[in-house]
């Protein structure tokens, strides 16, 4: 983490009237990182993103992109950013290609070759000269990604990018974002309320609730602790009998018909052998990993809309 962050939010606050929408949010995003911005609906994700890209003003605090403040050096800051804010809305009466030409003209030095390259990258070659009104949502999403990466931004900001995409589309987008982060060192800032999705996509997630940042955690770190004792679930034919056999083996209990014990790797193997030797049929053994969803609900408590 010695690199200079590509995005830095410092004590960012947004008040509308007397309501504080965003309350002193600070965070850094590193180059090449896929950063998730997680929160229930109404928690202020979109507002934060709108402030990052200059669609909304900040009440106090500052946001810098590659060292340029969006307040004082907006043009320098935004020239490093590609974004889709909410749905990828395009000019429906223009073709996909005309839409790209439109946005290419607004940045210096985007060549025709670059437009073609991006079209190929998002796989729209066959339909790029059709009017956007004939596009499916998935194709619009691709076009949205295309306009966002035309100028090779250092930061890609995506607001709820998987909204309305089918599973294949989601997977494609996820793989593509990963590739972009890895190959081009593009930082990706992605907001969502789809927890499992974020778990698969992101390196780190920040959790926002009612305008307050309540946690930032790495996704990798949660799965690394494999040697520590964890809750292990055994699927067996006679849970009660199995519990009896394990008497004295420490605290076992039955949850939803599954024998649940706290064990590390060695103990798990030992328990399995004892059960088998005692004539219990073991159908399955698995670790109970806490999903991001569990953690999320744990941290945010309830889903109160503030």
């Amino acid at each position: 983490m010695s690199q200079a962050p590509i995005v830095r939010l410092q004590e960012v606050t947004k008040r509308i009237g007397s309501r504080t929408i965003i309350d002193r949010v600070s965070l850094d995003v590193q180059p090449g990182e896929v950063f998730g911005f997680l929160g229930p609906n109404g928690s202020g994700k979109t507002t934060t993103i709108r402030m990052m890209v200059g669609l909304m003003s900040l009440t106090s605090g500052d946001i810098t992109i590659a060292g340029h403040s969006v307040k004082t050096a907006f043009r320098q800051a935004i020239s490093r950013v590609g974004a889709i804010v909410e749905n990828p809305e395009m000019y429906k009466f223009l073709t996909g290609y005309q839409n790209l030409v439109h946005f290419a003209r607004m940045n210096p030095a985007i060549t025709k070759a670059r437009i073609d390259e991006v079209v190929e990258l998002v796989g729209l070659q066959k339909r790029i000269h059709d009017k956007v009104k004939k596009y499916s949502l998935g194709m619009r999403q691709r076009l949205g990604v295309a306009q966002a990466i035309l100028h090779r931004p250092s930061l890609l900001v995506l607001d709820e990018p998987t909204n309305g995409l089918d599973p294949a589309g989601i997977r494609e987008l996820r793989d593509y974002l990963r590739l972009l982060a890895r190959e081009e060192g593009t930082a990706v800032f992605v907001s969502s309320h789809l927890l499992s999705e974020m778990e698969l996509m992101c390196d780190r997630v920040a959790i926002l609730q009612q305008g307050k940042l309540i946690d930032i955690r790495s996704i990798g770190a949660q799965t690394e602790s494999s040697s520590a004792a964890e809750e292990v679930l055994f699927e067996v034919d006679q849970p009660d009998a199995a519990l009896g056999i394990l008497e004295g083996q420490g605290a076992g209990r039955i949850v939803d018909g599954l024998l649940t014990i706290t064990a590390d790797r060695d103990l798990t193997a030992a328990v399995n052998r004892r059960l088998v030797e005692a004539g219990i049929r073991v159908y399955g053994i698995r670790k109970k990993t806490k999903s991001l969803e569990d953690q999320f609900l744990e941290v945010t408590g309830s889903d109160t809309i503030g």
């Binding site: 669609l55 909304m56 003003s57 000019y91 429906k92 009466f93 003209r105 607004m106 210096p108």
Partner: protein, 269 residues
């Protein structure tokens, strides 16, 4: 500057790639042709000279162009909000004022183009049907300061005056589009301004208050200086210079509102 022209190019693309623009274009061409043909068929080609009919058709088509230009102004900014594309437009390395200026310029260019078409069509069609009359009678009223002059000067002056009023009305519509993001309001109120101007100025001139002279409506009737030689308010003599100054103040005011609100406002929802 070359870069800024690209923004105008974008706005032009969004205007001329829409079929509705060409429907409007069709109206501007067809309306004068239709009127000329009707007159020729019903009254014969000797009843009027080419200039008289050109003046009549131009005044009608100018109203049409004003409405079309206001529709474009309304689409240009309020439309982007409705379509949601404003979010993609404003996250580029351009200041909001540059983007708004490019939109404003593209609308004025649209109006200029259509006026040029109007001039070309009304002139050509009437010369073709009624022949060219070098010293027409009945075109320039006796009361006009240009009485006895060339028809070209008179037509040129009318186009200029009509264009000035049109700019003010379009700017008014643009303000509603940019500041209030409502294309309906922009179109509706601008048409009201366009159509009720003479009615309201007639009403206003009945009262003796001095502030009447500073109300916008009467000064949009600039043609009255050219045709009758007097201002649009019978009981309140004004000069053309005065009217232009009043229009200029409103012009600046409307633009100030557009720019201030558009550049400051949070783009949400």
């Amino acid at each position: 500057m070359a870069d800024f022209w690209k923004l105008v190019q974008n706005e032009n693309m969004k205007i001329y790639r829409r079929p509705r623009t060409w429907i409007m274009f069709g109206f501007v061409v067809l309306v004068p042709v239709l009127i000329s043909v009707l007159v020729a068929v019903m009254d014969g080609t000797d009843s009027m000279n080419n200039w008289e009919l050109m003046r009549l058709e131009s005044s009608i088509v100018f109203q049409l162009i004003t409405v079309f230009a206001v529709v474009k102004a309304a689409d240009s900014v309020a439309g982007e909000f409705t379509w949601g594309t404003i979010k993609l437009l404003l996250i580029r390395p351009w200041s909001r004022s540059s983007i708004l200026l490019s939109k404003y310029i593209s609308v004025l260019l649209f109006s200029l183009l259509f006026i040029a078409v109007c001039f070309a069509v009304t002139f050509t069609v009437n010369v073709a049907i009624f022949g060219y009359d070098a010293s027409p009678k009945g075109l320039i009223p006796e009361t006009s300061p240009l009485a006895g002059g060339s028809p070209w000067t008179y037509m040129g002056a009318s186009y200029l005056l009509l264009f000035v009023s049109q700019i003010v009305i379009v700017t008014f519509g643009f303000m509603f589009s940019a500041a209030f993001r409502s294309s309906g309001l922009a179109i509706g109120l601008s048409i009201f301004l366009l159509l009720s101007g003479s009615l309201i100025s007639g009403l206003l001139s009945l009262t003796g208050k001095a502030w009447i002279k500073f109300v916008l409506f009467p000064h949009l009737q600039l043609m009255s200086y050219l045709d009758s030689g007097t201002g649009p308010l019978p009981n309140h003599p004004t000069t053309l210079g005065f009217s232009l100054a009043v229009l200029a103040v409103y012009f600046v005011l409307f633009n100030l509102v557009s720019w201030t609100v558009f550049c400051k406002r949070d783009v949400a929802g």
